[in-house]
């Protein structure tokens, strides 16, 4: 499939060939998910939740965009926004709270867009696409397909290929798959999964995670007794099995 790319506005400096650099200020679970999803835009990513380190990254690495968990690292809007010497670095803030006052104040203090948890992966690709063009005249190349070990996923068509088989995943199943794969080798608890995908205020039954894992396994043809992809770790949660590095598929 041909990569999609947007038109650049007249007069804007084009940064063809340059990978966008993204700074991610989030805990490990969510940060890994965002970092993996940004492979759909060929981003380089760095992660930190340390104030001094973030200042150094902003100064020396000059990220084009920053992703900040507003609920945990609110003060980083200030830190990231402050260290800039060359124009504006767009900030995408994440929140689980339905709090208009908090959001308006985040916009005022320099957030350019706010992503609500629960979100699906399309937002993580589309919102920065718009912000980078607005702020830097940069056209992000969208890579619809990436490889997660034995799986090839297509975010545009919402399909996954396992061997010769093509499956259709719902947005939530796709997000769950990415979250597990992004944290491969590490068991994620139900609480982790619930908090990252559904958010605190979604008010759903507690077995919703198990139910979605079950559906995802059925689609992937994964047997819970001898799983190829998603293992159950008794008392700890679920773990994506493969340890191999995640690589971008050749176009």
């Amino acid at each position: 499939m041909e990569a999609l790319s947007g038109r650049t506005r007249g007069g804007a400096k084009s940064a063809q060939g340059e990978s966008p650099r993204a700074l991610i200020v989030m805990n490990e679970t969510l940060g890994s998910l965002i970092s993996l999803t940004l492979q759909h835009g060929r981003y380089e990513t760095q992660r930190s939740t340390n104030a001094e380190e973030c200042q150094a990254i902003v100064r020396e690495w000059a990220p084009h965009i920053a992703f900040i968990d507003l609920d945990l690292y609110q003060q980083f809007i200030h830190i990231v926004g402050r260290g800039l010497t060359h124009g504006h670095t767009p900030i995408v803030a994440f929140t689980r709270r339905r709090d208009t006052a908090l959001k308006l104040s985040a916009y005022e203090r320099g957030a350019d867009d706010i992503v609500e948890v629960p979100f699906t992966l399309d937002e993580i690709v589309a919102r920065p696409f718009a912000l980078l063009r607005r702020a830097h005249g940069m056209t992000v190349t969208i890579v619809p397909k990436i490889r997660l070990d034995g799986l090839e996923v297509d975010l545009i068509e919402q399909r996954v290929r396992v061997g010769s088989q093509e499956l259709h995943l719902t947005p939530i199943q796709q997000t769950l798959l990415y979250l597990l794969a992004a944290n491969a080798g590490r068991a994620l608890s139900r609480e982790d999964l619930l908090a990252t995908i559904w958010g605190g205020e979604f008010e759903i039954e507690s077995n919703v995670v198990d139910r979605h894992i079950r559906e995802l396994r059925v689609k992937l043809g994964d047997d819970w007794r001898t799983p190829k992809f998603i293992e159950t770790v008794p008392g700890a949660g679920y773990r994506f099995k493969s340890q191999a590095a995640i690589s971008t598929a050749a176009e």
Partner: protein
């Protein structure tokens, strides 16, 4: 950039299907807006020219694919600040909308609070800080406070969760009309997230408790057996 301050209420054109359009219009009462609802892109185009709205809200998942063409149209030599609604998971449509210059996207399903925040942020970006935010509005005789997430019922002020508030707004904005469980589920949760669950019934039950509404003799939310729920029109 020089911002054009508004004198009166901002005109908002809503190109969205029902029952979402009514939910959108009710939610916009949290600001000073004059809203007009049309349900297809052709009427949307006509209203853009004639009525010259200050803000365009357009649903890209409506049956009419030409709705995308409403984004980025200049009216009287001005671009119209625009927010598009797009379904969860639909990356293709979101990229196309941003490519055409849409200012922001609200992913459906949404809760009223998100629409308020995004609308307000865009309006202030476009027309200055004078754009009003009204935290407390009247919903079918109930005083709802968006900031404190409370509703005034007699002398009580129970807190509503974001989803209970969304449910209240959706039902109250379509008074007298029966909304099926599937319709409510699609509009507020997305069937995908909670497939096969009784989440709608549970939320209706909780909301009724908080509103002191008895299911046998309801003042607000009536049950339509075998169909769904209906907000009772004010007498």
């Amino acid at each position: 950039m020089k911002k054009n301050q508004l004198m009166g209420p901002a005109r908002v054109l809503v190109v969205v299907d029902q029952p979402l359009a009514n939910l959108v219009a009710l939610t916009l009462n949290h600001g000073k807006y004059e809203t007009r609802i049309v349900n297809d892109a052709a009427s949307g185009r006509a209203e853009l020219e004639k009525w010259r709205p200050h803000l365009l809200l357009v649903d890209l998942d409506a049956d009419d694919p030409t709705s995308l063409g409403l984004i980025g149209r200049r009216v009287a030599n001005r671009r119209v600040p625009t927010i598009a609604f797009s379904k969860r998971g639909d990356l293709k449509t979101k990229l196309a909308a941003f490519d055409r210059g849409v200012d922001d996207i609200v992913t459906v399903p949404f809760v009223p609070e998100e629409l308020v925040a995004r609308t307000l942020a865009l309006m202030r970006r476009s027309y200055g800080d004078g754009i009003a935010f009204i935290p407390v509005i009247n919903v079918a005789g109930l005083e709802v406070d968006l900031l404190n997430q409370q509703v005034k019922v007699g002398r009580l002020r129970p807190e509503l969760t974001a989803m209970e508030q969304a449910l209240l707004y959706l039902l109250a904005s379509n008074p007298g009309q029966t909304l099926g469980r599937e319709e409510i589920l699609d509009a507020l949760w997305g069937a995908d997230y909670v497939a096969g669950s009784n989440v709608v019934d549970r939320h209706v039950r909780n909301l009724r408790l908080k509103l002191k509404d008895h299911w046998r003799n309801p003042r607000f939310i009536g049950t339509v057996p075998g169909k769904g729920y209906r907000f009772l029109a004010a007498p």
